[in-house]
Amino acid sequence: MASRTHRRGAARPARGGSPRRRLPLRLLLPLLVLVALAAMLMLRGYVHSEILADHRVQSPAPTDRVPEEILEGGPVIDARAGRTESLSVPDQRLVLTFDDGPDPTWTPRVLDVLKKHDAHAVFFVTGTMASRYPDLVKRMVDEGHEIGLHTFNHPDLSLQSKKRIDWELSQNQLAITGAAGIRTSLFRPPYSSFAGAMDNKTWPVTQYIGSRGYLTVVNNTDSEDWKRPGVDEIIRRATPENGEGAIVLMHDSGGDRSQTVAALDRFLPDLKERGYEFDNLTEALDAPSAHSPVTGADLWKGKAWIFLVQASEKITDVLVVGLAIIGTLVIGRFVLMLLLSGAHARRVRRKGFRWGPPVTEPVTVLVPAYNEAKCIENTVRSLMASDHPIEILVIDDGSTDGTARIVESLGLPNVRVIRQLNAGKPAALNRGLANARHDIVVMMDGDTVFEPSTVRELVQPFGDPRVGAVAGNAKVGNKDSLIGAWQHIEYVMGFNLDRRMYDVLGCMPTIPGAVGAFRRSALEPIGGMSDDTLAEDTDVTMALHRAGWRVVYAENARAWTEAPETVQQLWSQRYRWSYGTMQAIWKHRRAVIEKGPSGRFGRVGLPFVSLFMVLAPLLAPLIDVFLVYGLVFGPTEKTIVAWLGVLAIQAVCAAYAFRLDRERMTHLISLPLQQILYRQLMYVVLLQSWITALTGGRLRWQKLRRTGVVEAPGGSVPRQRSQSSDDRRPVA
C-alpha cells in the first residue's frame, strides 16, 4: 500500500441527504456476507460435531425399575402407546445392523459386500453423517436396507433433557428425509447394547422414545468390531448359538472398518450355508416396512437442510483454498519486500552512491491548504529552516478559517500566498504549478512538517535525468495514541518497505501527497494534476510511469504528518485512498495493452499493484474467520499457536522495517492489538470501496479535524503534544 497523507476534498455541500440513505446499504452488504459466512461455518461445525457434541456417558445404574419382561426379552422393544413388549428375531434369521454411519470410505464397501451376497441389513445412521453423505443413505434405501435413527450427533440420551431428545430425533429424521425422502420408525440409542443391559437411567428414555412412536432396537450379539479384534474374532462374536435368530451389532463408521468388511465377506456365505437368511428388521419380523414416504413441506425442508449442509461443506473447502492463497500471498509479499527493500537500502546507502550530479538549483514548494489555520504556521516555519534554496507557494483553497491571513501575517520572505475559490486539491496544485518559478516542484500538505534537510534530500534524485518524480518518506507525528501507534507501524512497515520494493521494481504506485517532488517538465505534458479520481497522487504517478519517467524513493526526505486520531477520520481517509486507487487503476487500465514504457508499466506494475492493494485484501478477512472458527470449535490451542506464528513473522518484518528506518522499537508493542483491531478496519474499508465501486455509489468525505499536533521541528522531530489531548477526546 502506498501511503499518502490525508487530502482534503473540495468542500462540496452534501446533496439532499441522499448519501446518508446509501450508507446503511454499504454497511449492510459486508455484514450480510459476514453473517452468511459465519452461519455456514457454524453449520459445518455443527454437522462435524464440533459444536453441541456431548461425549459424556452415563455410568451404570441399578435395574430395579426396569420391567422383568424387558430385561429378559428380545432386542426389539416396543414401548409405543403404553405397551411394554419385546420381540425377538425368529430362528435362522439374522438382522445385521450397522451403527454410526454413513461413512464415505467404508459404507460403500459394506454395501458392496451386502449386495454381492444378496443380504439386507439395517443402518442406524446419525444425523450429522447422513447430512454430510446423503447419497449413501439414498443408496441404502434403494438397495432394500432399512434405515434407523441413531440420533443427530450421538449423545448419551440418558443425560439429556426431553427437549434435546426430541430435537435429536427430529433433526435425525430431517436429514434422512432430505437424503432419501422417507421417515423411519426404528431407533437405536447411542451406547446401547443388549436388552438385559437396560437400567433405571436408560429405561425411561426408551419409554419416552416409545411414546414418540419409535421401536427401540438393541442387539443380541455384539461383534465389537470397533475394537478391531481381527476378522475371526468378529465372526465368532457375531455368530449366534444353535441357529437362533439374532440382531448383530456392527459399525460402518468411526475409523478403519476393513476388518468389518472382510468379516462380512466370510460371515455372510458361511451362515447362508448354515441356513440363515439375512433380512432387514421388518422382513425378519414379517412386519410392515419401517419406512414411510414423506411428501410436501417436510420433504422440502429435508432437502433444503441437505442442500445447506452440502453448501457449507463446499464453501468451507473454498475458504480453505482462499486461506491458502492469502497465506501464500502474504508470506510471498513479506519475503519479496524484505529482499527487495534490503537491496534498495544497500544500494542507496552504499558509500559514494549518487543519483547524478548534486542538485543545488532552487525549487518551488507548493503548499495547498484548506482550513489549516491550526497547522499552517508550523508547516511554513519548518520550510523556512530548509537548508535548500526554496520558494514557497501557499495556495489557499477557499479556506474559511483565515489560513491565508495567518501565512501573510508571518511576513516571511520567499513565501507567496495565492488564493482561489474552493476548487479542490488538484486545482490548487495546478494553480501552484502555473505560478511556480522553478522547474523542480515539491508538493506537501498544509498539515505536514518538513525537516531542514527534507527538501534537499527529496530533490537529489533529479540529478538522474530519467527521474520524473520522487516520493519522500512520510512519517506519523502523533504516534503516542493507540491509533497513532498503529498507523506508525503501518507507515514504517507497509508503506516505507513497500515503497523501496516498488522503487526496485520500477512501479511505484503513489507519491505521497505529504511529501513528493516532480519535474514540472514531466507534469506539464500529462496535464498536471487531474480530479478524475479521488487519489490524484496515485493517478499522476501512474501517468508519469506511462510517460516513461522513473519514479524513485528518497528515504531520507522525511516529512512528519498528523495521522487521523479517530476511527471515523481514519475511515474516511482510507476509504478515499482505496477507492481512489481503484479509480486510478481503472483509469489507466489501457496501459496493459499499450506499447513502450506505458505497456511495461501496464503489464508489470499495474497487475502487481492491483494484486496487493485491491485483490489480496479481499481475502484478508479469512484469517479472522478461521481464527474465530478455530477458537470456538477447536482445535483452540493449535489455532492460537498458528496465529501467534503469523504474528511472529509480522513482528520480525516490522522489526526489520523499523531498523531500516532507524525507528525506536517500542511502538511494536502495539502490534498484537493492531492485528486484532486495526487490520480488520482496513479491510472492511476496502470491502466498502469495492461495494461502492460495484454499485456505483458516490463518495462523500469530510476534511480531517486538525488539531495542530505536529509542530515545527526545533530539532528534527516534531514535538508530540503531550498536554491538551482532551480536546480531541469525546468529552460531551
Binding site: 504516534k479 503516542d480 495514541s481 493507540l482 497513532g484 501507534a485 498503529w486 517500542t666 511502538h667 508493542i669 502495539s670 498484537p672 492489538l673 489531548s725 482532551d726 477526546r729 469525546p730 468529552v731 460531551a732
Partner: protein, 448 residues
Amino acid sequence: MTHGYTTGTGPEPAGPYGPYGTPHAGDPTGAAGMPYAVPRQRTAEPAPAPDPAAAPAAPEKPGRDRYLDLLRSIALVRVVVYHLFGWAWLTVLFPSMGVMFALAGSLMARSLNRPAVSVVRGRLRRLLPPLWAFAAVVLTMMFLNGWNPAKDPDHGDTWGLIGLFNYLVPIGAPPYPWHIGSPSGLLEDTWAVQAAGPLWYLRAYLWFVLASPLLLWLFRRAPWPTLLAPLGLTAVVGTGLVTIPGETGNAVTDFAVYGGCWVLGFAHQEGLLKQIPRYVSVSCASLVMAFGLWWASNHLGPDGWDLNDIPLAQATWSFGFVVILLQYSPSWRELPGRLKRWDRLVTLSNNRAVTIYLWHNLLIMATIPIVDLLYRLPFMQSERGVEALSSTYTIWMFALVWPLIGLMVLAVGWVEDLAAKRRPRLWPNGAKRSAGRRSGRTGAAHRG
C-alpha cells in the same frame, strides 16, 4: 484532565466500594445445594461494591466525574445480575470488583491529601452504619431461627462469639450458619450464606482503607513496584504456591487480587497513568489480560470461566481492564448523548451503592417465596403453566429483585446519609423535587 476526576466528587469522596458477596468465608465448597428451579447463587462473587463514601457527594453538584459514576453503576448492576443468574462469563465481560476497588482507591488517594487519621475515620464512619443496619436485621433473623454462634459446628465456641464482632467492624469475615431454618421453609436453608456472603467485600475494603496511608506512601516513593506487587503476591498466594489456611488466607488473597486495582486508582489520581503513552499502556494492559485469559483457560474452576474462582486470572484480567478504563477516562461532567437518559438511575445507584450492595443478595433470596406465589394462581395449575413458570423462573426473580431493591433503598438507604452527616434523603436520584421520585422509581424497577 485526561483523567481522574476533575474537581471533586463532592466534599468528601470516599472510597467507592462495593461489597460483594463472597462465600469464601468459611466453607470452601460454596453454597449448599439449591432447589432445582433456582439457579445457583454465587456466593463468592465479586460484586462491585458501591462506594459508600463516594455516594455521599451531592449528585447535583457539578464536578462529579460522571464517567466514574457510570462505571460504578454498571459494576453494581453486573453484580446483581451475576448473583441472580450465576453466569460465569459476566466476570470476564466486566470485572466489577476490580473496577469498584480502583474507583475507591482513586478517591482514597485524593482524600489522603488531608491527614490520614481523619480520612480513615471518615471512611469508617460512612461504611459502618449501613453495615450495622444490615447486621441488625440479618442477625435478628438468624437468632430467631435458632442459630447459636457458640454452638455452630463450623465456628468454634468462643471464636464464634468473638467473630460476631465482625458484624460491627468487618476486620474479618463474620460468622454465619451454613444451614439455618429448614429446607422447606420460606427461605432456603442457605439464606444466611447468601445474605452474609457479600460481607467479604466490606472486609477487603476495610483492609484497603486501613492500608492506604502506607500504600500511598509506598506508591509515591516507588510507584511501579507498588503497582505490580499485588500481582506478584497473587501469583504466590492465589495459585497454590503458598496456601494460607482459613479465613486469613481468603482475606490475604482478596487483598492481593484486588490490591493491584486499588493502587491503579492511586496511579490514576496521581497522574501516573497520564504520563505513559496510551499505546504503551493499552498494549501492555491487553497483554496482561491475555495472560489472565490464558491462565484461566488452564485453571478452570468448578464454574468454568468464573474468574472469581481463579485468583491470578481475576487479578490480571481486572488489572488490565481497569488500566484501559482509566486510561480512556474522559472526565464527563454529565453523561453524554444517549447515556443521559440513565442519569437519574446512575445518580441513585451511586448515592445508595452500599445499601444496594449489602442487601441485594438477601433480596434475591426473598424473591423466591414471592415468585412461588405464582404457582398458586388458578390459571397456573396446569402442567404447562407450571412448566412455563419453572422455565422462566429466574426471569421473574430478575424482574422482581429491582422493585425490592427500590423498597430497600427507601427503607434503609437514608442510613447512608446519616453516616455521611447529611440530611437523610428518601430517594436521592438527583431529580429536582419529589416529582422525580415516582419516575425514578419505576425506572429502577425496569432496569436491569
